[in-house]
């Protein structure tokens, strides 16, 4: 009895000691080299999420190359599993001990980090790269200052099953909402469920409203709403009305309110991958997800098709604008200056070319676009590059608070329990609460 207690005490002590070491080692990271001038030894901590296979090796090579080109710089690479990285980053942001180089998803999340003094302003120091990658940096801009360099941006659109479309007699992918509704009717007539949507996870359903808002609201109105958090423009209500109209035609898979986005064969992606539905609104990750959800690892294979979100008749927005998002490299506020050189290097023609060749994402440096291997992704990339502008996912854009309230309200519209007005009200009251 006594011995076990003693053992327990020892174990507890050891645990506390480990905890203490963990805390202190977490803290040591970015502070040791704030001097950071030329000729001195500088260490950069870099967290990324390409933790397997070719992607991991490639980033190791990139880090080695940068070390060779910049004597005195050491890069400590941490290749983390994606969810782990997000959890660790959240904790790092809360304690203020961030790594020097990390990923930012932009929008309201970035704004919160900027206001907490966690991210370096790179407007001047990285101006050349910013000019090179163009308009997509808007999502990582806060009060006219740029805080991160997006390295992979995808757009959301409809992924569809070519053979099911053919079976239903649909020859052209729909370009307008009328055509989409007509296609849905044809699919239903052929006994095929038209669209899967992971409304159980909310964000896949919310993408519909984002797109309707993008089609209904002019770029100026949207920009104003993002800046002022004022959603009183009528176009937001029209977006909700468009959504209500679409939901009322019942185009979605059975039980879609509890369907999850992309885990398992009964998820929205799984239903598309296994030929149970004809299409799904999703981002550039969809082919990869579908490959993981089929036994032969090919997803829809040759039957994979993609078309952009249809135009909405009478909408004030640019009907070719795309909704998208991605990841960007940012430097910690107190990181040494060489950090900016490193993230610019990550966006260079050379590094982005390799990034594209290994299918690690959709490069933002246009010189690398030609090297994307996957044909479906290459098509999507062409649409992205031709888009007049790319609107960041609205939940990311508005931040977790308004974004979460907005997604919840949109999900109730999918359940036919909420209205267009409810979405705007939820966003307005969340904004008042900021």
């Amino acid at each position: 009895m006594k011995r076990t207690t003693a053992l327990r005490a020892v174990a507890l002590g050891a645990g506390l000691a480990m905890l203490a070491t963990a805390c202190s080692s977490g803290g040591s990271g970015s502070s040791e080299e704030t001097a950071g001038g030329d000729g001195e030894n500088v260490t950069l901590q870099w967290w990324h999420n390409s933790n397997t296979g070719e992607g991991k090796d490639y980033y190791d090579q990139v880090a080695d190359q940068f070390e060779q080109d910049n004597p005195g710089v050491t890069i400590e690479v941490s290749a983390l599993q994606h969810e782990d990285m997000l959890t660790k980053l959240d904790a790092a942001f809360q304690t203020g001990d961030t790594p020097d180089v990390f990923m930012e998803r932009g929008g309201g999340e970035l704004a919160a980090h900027v206001e907490a003094g966690l991210v370096k302003d790179i407007t001047e120091s990285a101006s050349e790269t910013i000019a090179n990658i163009g308009g997509v940096v808007d999502g990582w801009t806060h009060e006219d200052k740029v805080y991160a360099l997006p390295f992979s941006i995808g757009v959301v659109g409809f992924w569809y099953n070519k053979s099911l479309f053919q079976q239903a007699g649909i020859t052209e992918p729909p370009a307008t909402m009328e055509e989409l509704n007509a296609a849905n009717d044809k699919l239903k007539a052929a006994g095929i469920e038209p669209i899967s949507v992971g409304a159980g996870d909310k964000w896949p359903a919310a993408h519909y409203w984002y797109y309707f808002a993008l089609r209904e609201c002019s770029k100026d109105v949207m920009g104003e709403a993002i800046a002022t958090r004022d959603f009183s423009d009528d176009c937001f209500l029209r977006a909700g009305a468009d959504l209500e109209a679409l939901v009322a035609t019942k185009p979605f898979n059975t039980g879609y309110l509890a369907t999850v986005a992309q885990t398992g064969p009964a998820s929205a992606s799984g239903l598309l991958a296994t030929g149970k539905v004809a299409m799904e609104l999703a981002g550039h990750w969809e082919p990869g997800v579908m490959k993981g959800l089929t036994e032969d690892g090919t997803g829809l294979g040759e039957n994979t098709g993609w078309f952009a979100f249809p135009a909405v008749d009478g909408g004030e927005g640019d009907q070719a604008a795309q909704l998208g998002g991605g990841d960007a490299w940012a430097c910690a506020q107190d990181a040494p200056d060489v950090c900016v050189d490193f993230i610019e290097y990550l966006l260079s023609d050379e590094v982005q070319k390799g990034f594209a060749e290994y299918d690690m994402g959709l490069p933002t440096n246009r010189s690398a676009s030609a090297f994307v291997q996957d044909p479906a992704l290459a098509g999507l990339l062409a649409v992205r590059n031709d888009a007049p502008y790319i609107q960041l996912y609205l939940d990311t854009e508005f931040g977790e608070n308004i974004g979460g309230a907005m997604n919840d309200a949109i999900a109730t519209v999918f359940a036919e329990q909420g209205s267009a007005q409810d979405i705007v009200d939820a966003m307005t009251s969340a904004a008042a609460n900021e």
Binding site: A199, G200, T254, G255, L257, A258, G264, A405, D408, T412
Partner: protein, 350 residues
């Protein structure tokens, strides 16, 4: 009566009795070998008392430290956070008093969460108690395969909640295994969109919870049944009581304390319900199955509103705590007396 129940302190002299009373929790300590102490009884007593205190401190301190670090400090911290508007980043400097509490109490989704929780409390008891009691009474009779039956009945409770949740999510998916079974046995007409229908999802969740937790009721009640003296049954049978009469008039009343303890556990579990709902529905569709705990995660931490989340957590704690106190005060109040009545009767029957 009371002296009958404390035979160990009897005949030990007033001091021994006092020491026994004073050390309370460490009752075994009074069984320490007396021969080890010095001759003088007073000094021996003092030394023993000192050793007892040391021993208590030794055994209790680690637990107290853990309790303080992992229970008391977080509760106090949550109370502090709940007074601020804070997104978890940077300094916590926007003090807003009780605004977070006011916002939560005024939010219709939070009200729905509280209603759902209370509904689950009531229905869990109303459904699981009769089922649990019936099965426990059945399993208390001897028949071939009884042990196997007991194990089978308890399996759902032993299964990790997340695992059980994932299994049910798969079974309940549209056109999934459950629907196929219903079709196969000609019950296709009872098919539902089990988890995707805002009007039905809560009932599905309650069904799964019943499956998961009725095992606990059965095991506790079976344990309680072991404490019901066989002699009473025999006596009643001799007096001509049927099996039903014996159960109704003797067994169930004597199970009272066990039943009340189970109700307490079930109530607290229902109020803090999270895992199963999160796996099955995430509180959806359209907030149909939201509970206070899923509300806390969804509206609080996932939206980086740590101040608000803390306020909801404190409310959840307060509601559970108040209900627990009320329950203990008004319902479980007499249980110690009940227990002594049983023990008293037992003695009489000997």
């Amino acid at each position: 009566m009371a002296s009958d129940l404390t035979p160990r302190t009897q005949g030990r002299g007033p001091r021994g009795a006092a020491a026994g009373a004073r050390t309370g929790a460490a009752g075994q300590a009074s069984a320490w070998p007396a021969a080890a102490g010095p001759r003088d009884p007073d000094a021996r007593f003092r030394s023993r008392q000192w050793r007892q205190r040391l021993e208590i401190a030794f055994f209790v301190t680690p637990a107290l430290v853990l309790f303080a670090v992992f229970v008391v400090v977080p509760i106090v911290q949550a109370g502090r956070y709940s007074m601020f508007k804070w997104n978890g980043l940077g300094p916590m400097d926007n003090f807003i008093g009780f605004q977070n509490y006011a916002n939560a109490l005024a939010d219709t989704i939070f009200q729905r969460a509280v209603t759902n929780n209370l509904l689950i409390v009531v229905l869990s008891i109303a459904i699981q108690l009769p089922i649990g009691l019936a099965i426990a009474l059945l399993l208390n009779r001897s028949f071939p395969g009884r042990t196997a039956m007991r194990v089978i009945v308890f399996v759902p409770y032993v299964l990790a909640e997340v695992v059980a949740g994932v299994i049910w999510a798969l079974l309940l998916q549209p056109n999934g295994p459950l629907d196929s079974v219903l079709d196969a046995v000609g019950l296709g007409f009872v098919k539902q969109v089990w988890l995707g229908d805002p009007g039905f999802a809560l009932w599905t969740v309650i069904g799964v919870l019943t499956w998961k937790y009725v095992g606990l009721a059965i095991v506790l009640l079976l344990a309680g049944l072991q404490g019901v003296p066989e002699e009473l049954n025999e006596a009643a049978s001799i007096d001509g009581a049927s099996w039903w009469q014996v159960q109704r008039k003797i067994t169930i009343p004597l199970l009272g304390p066990t039943i009340r303890t189970w109700i307490f556990l079930s109530m607290i579990g229902s109020l803090q319900l999270f895992d199963m709902v999160w796996i099955l529905t995430k509180g959806g569709p359209a907030n149909a199955t939201v509970t206070m705990a899923t509300y806390l995660i969804n509206q609080g931490t996932e939206r980086s509103q740590y101040g608000y989340a803390s306020a909801v957590a404190v409310l959840l704690f307060a509601i559970s705590f108040i209900l627990a106190i009320l329950y203990q005060t008004f319902i479980q109040r007499n249980d110690s007396d009940d227990a002594s009545v049983v023990r008293g009767r037992r003695k009489v029957s000997r």
